[in-house]
Point group: C2
Chain length 560, copies 2
């Protein structure tokens, strides 16, 4: 903070000059004493400067309203929203989100440090603060061909950037507990910079968990059972209670949202898909569920939604309504209805009565933007590329799961038996690598579906009833520089263009959602089985760390 800002704040606090804005007669959540207190909240220089009896250049009457500190998502991959950060932000501002801690793991798998740089530039000056954690596991596994490898030397310089917080979810628990030096070097570096290191260790317990924590990893967002969370809390981890689109742990972990644990728990979403964001909301949805479905004390729910994350990430300027803190605030009608009426970011009203204030989309350096919009480094494919003279492994899709079943070997597409061809096409480095196999249980009866969202390397996955339509879908996706394409007999029947790294769009969340829902409907109409998400299920077919059979650019992989 500059001297002149500090002077202006102090003068407004003492009453020597009027505050810039006063929230008059506010009831507000005091996270320190866990009380609902009354007072005028005075704001100057974008920060709260005093609570008491204040006059302001502008005044908002808060009679009958409740003011909460802005909400914080403690762990999210923004890419999961399929839109650029500015569009994501427009969508979550009405839900009271004022800070998100984002792990740009997906774009880093495509673009490496350029992807991180892109996210830093694309989040600059938005009305939601986007703080980045450095992706710790790019690529997720050496079995796959990603667009980049991030070493500790790549990561470390980013700790000098003001919006970079620490090291993101360390998924390689095996590497940690088995003292893999490349893995540990990333932990050592983060600690040398005094940065938090996020965990990701579903089901880890006992001595392995002790070792993982001792290595310096003090959070976890993968708990799906209360006992698991309690073991982790007792060993010193903070628990990021996740309630996102794919993974939902609030029901299991709601007992943690009470006095005694409220300083060790926070909320996160991990992944939020467009329709989920639009229909349910964001952190506000978790608060409401906690209060209404699980009987959580509203004050504790609100505190969990911001204060603890701020403390854990050492953001001493937010997570409370107190002098000196950023004036990030959410104004609701009451705890029962929890309707968000206004949202303030740094003392500016950014959402009011259904309207989001205009968001200035950050400018990206031209060369970087060009790179981000051209991430498909491959030639168009032809039918020959998808042919095999040998029998190939067949992956069985299990509805509602990313785990698969080994269905033995197949020699050809067989629509009667629901056997489709599937291919994973390397798209980062023009290697020409194409992995081939068969897929059963997906249900498609006509055409083909291709996507450039394929965890975690984001090569192209295509599945089809004929090699011809598969070729057409892939080459169309290549033309679009990313996204999802549904085709039928040489016609595009549905598509979503995700031109930023093949993962995100510059269009609005509403538009993308509309395209996505339309394409999904078409995919179902072309035969995709009910119970199978036509695109999300595909996007996990190439992640060779999930059992029991997957397809990479190098072919079928059996996973233990």
């Amino acid at each position: 903070m500059e001297m002149n800002e500090k002077i202006a704040m102090i003068k407004a606090a003492t009453g020597e000059v009027k505050a810039d804005l006063v929230l008059k007669n506010a009831s507000y959540v005091n996270v320190y004493t866990e009380e609902l207190l009354q007072g005028d909240i005075a704001i100057a220089q974008g920060r709260v400067v005093g609570i008491g009896d204040y006059d302001g250049e502008a005044v908002l009457d808060m009679t009958g309203k409740i003011v909460c500190p802005g909400f914080i998502d403690a762990h999210i991959h923004l890419e999961s929203s399929l839109v650029a950060p500015a569009e994501f932000v427009k969508a979550v501002v009405p839900h009271g989100t004022t800070t998100v801690i984002a792990d740009p793991h997906e774009i880093a798998n495509v673009m490496g440090t350029d992807g991180i740089e892109y996210m830093l530039q694309a989040t600059e000056g938005l009305p939601v603060d986007v703080k980045l954690m450095m992706p710790s596991c790019v690529p997720a596994t050496p079995l796959d061909e990603s667009g980049a490898v991030l070493t500790v030397a790549d990561i470390e310089p980013f700790y000098d950037r003001p919006n970079v917080m620490g090291l993101a979810e360390m998924m390689n628990a095996y590497g940690v507990t088995h003292t893999d030096k490349d893995v540990l070097a990333k932990l050592v570096a983060a600690q040398a910079h005094n940065r938090p290191i996020d965990g990701h260790a579903p089901g880890l317990t006992g001595k392995a968990l002790n070792a993982y924590v001792a290595a310096g990893i003090y959070s976890d967002h993968e708990c799906s059972e209360l006992d698991e969370a309690m073991e982790k809390i007792r060993l010193g981890q903070y628990i990021q209670i996740r309630e996102g689109t794919a993974a939902r742990n609030l029901e299991a972990l709601a007992p943690l949202i009470q006095r005694g644990y409220e300083n060790r728990t926070m909320f996160c979403t991990d992944d939020k898909h467009p329709n989920d964001l639009l229909e349910k909301g964001h952190i506000d949805y978790i608060i409401k569920e906690a209060i209404h479905k699980y009987g959580v004390d509203p004050i504790i729910a609100v505190k969990t939604a911001g204060h603890t994350a701020a403390r854990y990430f050492k953001m001493t300027d937010r997570g409370a309504i107190a002098p000196g803190y950023l004036a990030d605030m959410v104004i609701i009608d009451n705890f029962d209805d929890f309707n968000i009426e206004k949202v303030l970011k740094c003392g500016k009203v950014v959402y009011d009565a259904g309207c989001v204030s205009p968001v200035k989309v950050p400018e990206i350096a031209a060369a970087l933007e060009h790179k981000a919009l051209h991430t498909f480094h491959m030639a168009p494919i032809s039918k020959d590329d998808l042919m095999s003279e040998e029998a190939l492994g067949c992956i069985g899709v299990l509805p509602g799961s990313i785990v698969t079943k080994d269905m033995g070997m197949r020699e050809a597409i067989d629509l009667k038996e629901d056997v489709l061809k599937i291919a994973v096409i390397e798209r980062h480095k023009n290697t020409g690598h194409i992995g081939l196999g068969y897929l059963q249980g997906y249900g498609l009866k006509q055409g083909a579906v291709a996507t450039s969202i394929s965890h975690d390397s984001h090569n192209i996955i295509v599945v089809g009833c004929s090699e011809e339509d598969m070729v057409f879908a892939v080459n169309r996706l290549l033309e679009n520089q990313g996204g999802i394409v549904v085709v039928n007999q040489g016609q595009v029947t549905g598509e979503i263009m995700l031109e930023i790294a093949g993962l995100m769009s510059n269009r609005s969340l509403e538009e993308i959602n509309e395209c996505l829902e339309q394409a999904k409907e078409v995919a179902y109409s072309q035969g995709v089985n009910e119970g199978v998400d036509p695109f999300m299920s595909l996007s996990f077919m190439s992640l060779p760390v999930i059992p029991e059979i997957k397809l990479t650019t190098k072919g079928i992989v059996k996973v233990q």
Copy 2:
């Protein structure tokens, strides 16, 4: 942490290799869940690596014992113990102290940045971690002549030193709330380095308090009333509950040591004099008082004694017994008796069954040591220096208080009316400045008393029944290069040598205490009134910020 340490920790945690030390069958205080839990605590590389079922190269049976995280004093001036840091540490190790946050305000007033450098070197490698806060107010007031002036430019480079935490108690609340730029520059700099800023604002309330907090000051150790503490907690300040030698706030603030506030409160002593340290102990004394006198839950008391301070000062490596944390632990028999049996610092037993392990006294750079041992830059005085032809103001001593009363003007010593002469002699810069006055209510009937402990500038204060004895006492103190001297008719009757900056001794706390008690007894036998501390009361006679009349090197000052 180095890679090889991390590998060794992980291997011990997984059980691949034996731990260095295991505390077998321990009951331990889990600060996260506020439970007493059971398990073997495995230690490697000086840190806890796992809790569960472990084997170690060495094993300590903890059956029937309770293991607590090491205690932290959140704010102390080590100089108040009158001994060098190594000697202080030897005295507090048996009390379970493993970290102290020290403000070297006194030595900085004498030696400036050299004094801070001295304390950094003198605390290196001790079995209690001494972390420094940078003195924010040197000199305490421009009315006085101290040995140094610390500007923001002097302070800022110290933030690069590993044991420097932040900015110490900002006593100049008026300067903060009235936007004094020199004061604010120190706050701006500490914040730019992301460092905590300690407060010191007794009785500050309302808008002035809001302004003080908004300026970035998030702790206070000066609360003497519960309401005052509650107002400060609600505005976001951490409360350092002080129970020291001179100021004792535990009784008033004990209601804060309970669930709901335990993450916002910590313990500190501020000042601990030798006899108090020896008779009562340190942070353990506060815990015991809290439990036994005020009915505090022992687990909450133990948590308050370490965890919150660690969080506030962003020391993520201590304040809990958890994997990855420093193995700083206190082993007690039970909560009722709270007898400390063993103390571990970084996994080493540093206190066991009444014995402190040998402490290696840190080496001080020769030139710096020479400077610290020669801080009296003045010539011997003579009787003429203490004579005045005019009447002088007379200070009235109030028993048990540092506040004084204006007793009008006097022209000469008058033992029948208990009127003594008092002088303050500038000793830092050879200015020859000597302030003269009279003192009533002290009681001395024979001889003189001189001290180089005189807040905050630590010039020489001398009071006497005759100018001859005053001269003798001052010149003796000069020969000693500091301390306290009691004389009678040209004979030394009691003395304490404080050769380090005139404030501390390299001898043991027991020795210094013995000298001090003997000298005190002599002072009383020479007439000092019961109810007046012969040395401490003198040491505040020159602090011109306490009402209503004081004496500086420039003469009598009336204080509003």
